[in-house]
Symmetry: C2
Subunit: 211 residues, 2 copies
């Protein structure tokens, strides 16, 4: 099945399966994992695991399960994680700073694949030029030059709501293809640019419903 | 319709609608908003807005729309935001620290409702006793005493994956009802405890698919 035919809800679960496979210790698991085990560690039913994985052409062996190394490679390939993914962060306040540190800590020592933080941008003259693990904070005005120069197509937006759309417009102009938006506002962009929103405030208000 | 009958995907959109209503300036909008305008600012179709709001018993007037103040109050009531919600954070590393600052900045000056950060926990002796905007970082061993004492039932978990389940178990023992989990691991808890996962790493890998 071609990549374009896999529903987004399924794509969403693939990194979760990949994470489970990468956390398996070799002593406790052999080279095979059942859909039951994979599902339990992922918070998904075994039937859903089998259905999701069949969509990417991965079929377990009856009574045995999935060959771990093969499945891991296949998940990486589908998710484009078989090559380096360059990421930039726009907005280096508390949250942007924490995200930068997280990406560096999580991925810099990863041997198998990289999400590499290559650029940071802000508009506050007090932080321009500062380094976070060797990555300098550049002025947002240089964004359009830096994007092709450094070759990143994925951006994390962590700026205040009031300026988020203008930052998004800069991303569009610079040919950015994927955006993870932390600003508490709905951003507009042409079709073809993928925007995912993550919003602590919405998460907390959503949870409050269940109190 | 009773609260328990509203699907979670709808609940998820209610805080987004609420945020839009709260950001409306009074000069540019009268006291009414159409489902078209509310949908556009929320990233949702007008039909979906009308359907979602009908589930909470809010019906717009034909050709006019929704009375803004009434809808805002109704959304707050449904989301339990008509009273103060106390939140604690477990794990005050980079991420936990950024989350603490975010909650304080976002909600401390909010006049209409509060998500109030009341406690912080960590296990690192070097940070115990430190204050973040007046809230002390306590040792995780005091969690079970502090939860009833301070009266919080919602917790943000921002600890490393290896210790997240043991922290979750402490939450269960202390009667916590809602958890926002930032640790990159699937947590287990008895039914009735609501766990939402938010994972930067999964978000980034998910987005990488679209590059």
């Amino acid at each position: 099945m071609g990549k374009q035919n896999i529903p987004d809800v399924v794509i969403r679960r693939l990194p979760i399966y990949l994470r489970v496979l990468e956390n398996l210790s070799e002593e406790s698991y052999g080279n095979v994992i059942s859909s039951f085990e994979l599902g339990e560690k992922s918070g998904v039913t075994p039937a859903q695991v089998r259905k999701d994985l069949s969509l990417i052409g991965a079929f377990g062996k009856q009574g045995l399960g999935y060959e771990i190394a093969t499945l891991r490679d296949e998940l990486k390939r589908i998710l484009n994680l078989d090559r380096e993914i360059k990421v930039a962060i726009i907005g280096v306040g508390n949250l942007g700073h924490a995200i930068a540190k997280y990406i560096i800590q999580r991925y810099d020592n990863e041997k198998d694949y990289h999400l590499k933080l290559v650029a940071l941008f802000d508009s506050d003259p007090r932080v321009i030029g500062e380094l976070i693990n060797g990555v300098p904070i550049d002025h947002i005005d240089s964004f359009q030059d830096k994007a092709p120069e450094l070759g990143f197509r994925m951006v994390v937006i962590a700026v205040p709501a009031e300026v988020a759309q203008s930052v998004m417009d800069k991303c569009v102009m610079a040919g950015i293809e994927a955006v993870l938006n932390f600003a508490p506002v709905h951003l507009k962009a042409p079709k073809g640019i993928r925007i995912h929103n993550t919003d602590l405030s919405i998460d907390l208000m959503h949870l409050a419903y269940y109190l």
